[in-house]
Symmetry: D2
Subunit: 250 residues, 4 copies
């Protein structure tokens, strides 16, 4: 079986250099180019890359995508900073190259993506849902972006299903005891030396609870999701937003 020809853009960065190693280590992938800042995009076409993994910066990503899509190179994008305007521009390029696929994923950790997805699926079936996120003490925001997003997805899944508000008889509470309120879902933020990034979704119904917990211990956790993206984007024309669409959820 011939290997899938993969290029990495942003190959000198922390995530990019790990992606280079991960592609090299995969039996079914061949690393054909590893571009850093200033390297010429033509290398992509000369090397015959079928898929590009885009891990640069918001400054560079649009030019890179214009080149890739314009040359029919499928692209997996980890770079952030997506606005409606940028998405519209990208969709324009894609409509001119209808067989090319682009995957943009805010999070390549399969565990994080499944944690969110499972929370969303389960949320309408339980009376109560709360989120606890636990991070290292150098984090500057609380709750984490992932926890806020998870709570929003939970809230909207419950609203859509017509789920009632969670029961809560609290009459007297210390300020903050019941957590932050994100669209009606309580979110609690723990900051503890020794931790990295962890999230727990607790769901409770009559006589039972279901807990879904994700522990992230290293940014190498992005690699399996990036490789999975590379393998699937080649047969998924158009724009896909979110790794969950590449996972079989049935």
């Amino acid at each position: 079986m011939s290997k899938l020809r993969v290029a990495v853009l942003g190959a000198k960065g922390r995530i990019g250099s790990e992606a280079v190693r991960a592609v090299e280590a995969a039996d079914d992938l061949e690393l054909v180019a590893a571009l850093g800042r200033g390297d010429k995009l033509e290398t992509l076409t000369e090397s015959g890359a079928q898929v590009a993994v885009e891990l640069t910066t918001p400054d560079s990503v649009m030019a890179n995508l214009e080149f890739c899509v314009g040359h029919g190179i499928h692209t997996v994008v980890g770079t952030t900073g997506w606005t409606d305007e940028r998405l519209a521009q990208l969709n324009g390029w894609l409509s001119a190259s209808p067989e090319t696929g682009v995957l943009i994923a805010p999070n390549f950790s399969i565990g994080a993506v499944l944690n969110m997805k499972f929370a969303q699926i389960a949320a309408p079936y339980f009376e109560s849902v709360e989120v606890i996120e636990l991070h290292h003490p150098k984090k500057v925001d609380a709750p984490s972006g992932t926890a806020t997003r998870t709570a929003q997805l939970i809230a909207s899944a419950r609203a859509e299903a017509g789920a009632a508000q969670a029961p809560d008889a609290t009459e007297t509470a210390l300020d903050g005891a019941r957590g932050a309120d994100v669209d009606g879902i309580p979110v609690h933020s723990v900051r503890l030396r020794g931790l990295l990034a962890h999230q727990e979704v607790l769901l409770g119904g009559e006589g039972e609870t279901l807990t879904i917990r994700h522990d992230s211990l290293h940014h190498s956790s992005f690699m399996p999701g990036i490789l999975l993206g590379a393998r699937r984007v080649v047969s998924t024309p158009g724009l896909t937003f979110g790794l969950e669409h590449f996972l079989d959820l049935n």
Copy 2:
């Protein structure tokens, strides 16, 4: 909105009596009959029951189902002891009454069902999967039936996806340390005073883990699933096996 007319068979049993209370407490359901051993099945038709909840014994279930299906009463079945022969007989009755629905569920706990389903969905995306089940010390079998079933579902999901065997460098081990082997999935059984029924599925990949845990604290946990079954079986003709088919998993 008119209420759904529900009858309970086996209404004097531990689960049945709880089902009676749960139906009575639900705003959209009306309890029209509660039959114990020896009560006449004609009560079902006389009371105008649209759905029957069957919580009797393997001895009674077939006669009850023949009556219900024959009279177009949709049925939710918690009674166990299903063989291929019995299923064939039930399917025969159903083909003669094609608009009637029957749901048979080995487990009505939504948490348990989602725990298994999520384990199955996630299993192919991680390198390692193990199951820990924890129960009260009066339990006579180890692993629990649910844990064995979960491990089998995990193993078959991994096989189907072509997932490699989980890495394990163990060279010297005390007997039993690495758990029981269920189709290649290690299953560990804890027996502890103070516990009831708990199960944890641990999934591990590069730099991250995902844990799905179900805690069952009371058999009242079956009620939301039974009610959900009653509400959905009326619009699901034919035989459905497993509550998971009545949950929206996307």
Copy 3:
């Protein structure tokens, strides 16, 4: 070996009736009296009780203790509502009966007592400590009394040891995200259908975390502590406040 002769006061109450059963079930204890409201205290002396288990109400406890201590009957007290004034009065009676022992315990759950004690011991050795308490949604206060008390004990152990404040770089936070502040220790309160009473103390240091979790599933969890109290109070003259003093912590 002769059995220890035990009486229960408040024997008709929820906890009292369970204490009656627990004493009867213990090989080394003999239930010699079980008094309800209105029963005469003389039964205690007539039955030759060596230990009384006091599980009545704040209205009755002082009269009961005066009688017991006055007659040299050791007493284990679960009744609440202790003020400095009441303690002074009790100590007066005890000084007139120097061989009699009284144990007053705000919590007879050995798990809860050890959870608090271990938190207190460990707290000075870690940079960060937070408390999460999780309860059923009918609870009216947040945080729970036990969590507040635990956080206070942690804070005072850290202050005594000269421990620095826990690191926390949070710059922007949603209201409540970082929990309630109890003497500088963040406490998070989860309210979830399906739960009973649970508490987790999280301690974090460089490269490691220690978590101590107590799950209380039934008030029968008080029985082992009550029996242990009864066995030990007979050889512990004077007033002891808190079950932890009867546990060997070394």
Copy 4:
């Protein structure tokens, strides 16, 4: 306040180099020497070291200790391989230098030490105790040495207190389901990609459970224990075996 003068032996090793940094970063300690293989021990006396941190190999440790103890330099020892013979020899040197202190610790992680100690304290008060240890899949032995040691300490604490065997009604079990038997305590070993080193002690009694969990995420977790050892060994003459003796457990 004058700083405590500390030397590190084995300063080029993985743990040693981290110890060098940790000593330098501590306000109350001064790094006065950092010796690698072949460096002269006289540096210790010339630099005026009050405490030596010994992190070399079983080959070098005895000569280093003879020198240190002979010159009244207190020593904190992380090097392993201690036999009764070696301990006797060390005790001989110490009796000739009665004011010098030596701490030998098989584990400098405060979390691991407290996990073991708390398990040992709590074990007699619960009916059931089991141990789950979870490690990365490259580990060659199961259970881990720490889990085996923990189970042994638990078993001996229970034996000493006359605790009964844990209840277990298991009649039919798959091979290995109930874990390994270490002195009567079930120990379960999980091997999962994404994990490092984790251990959970589960204790269960009537109506409640207590769980003590240690998560080790990096060998930097040894540093607080090494520094604590250095600070305390100077005022603890003679041989101390185990970091737990330097922790205040009351």
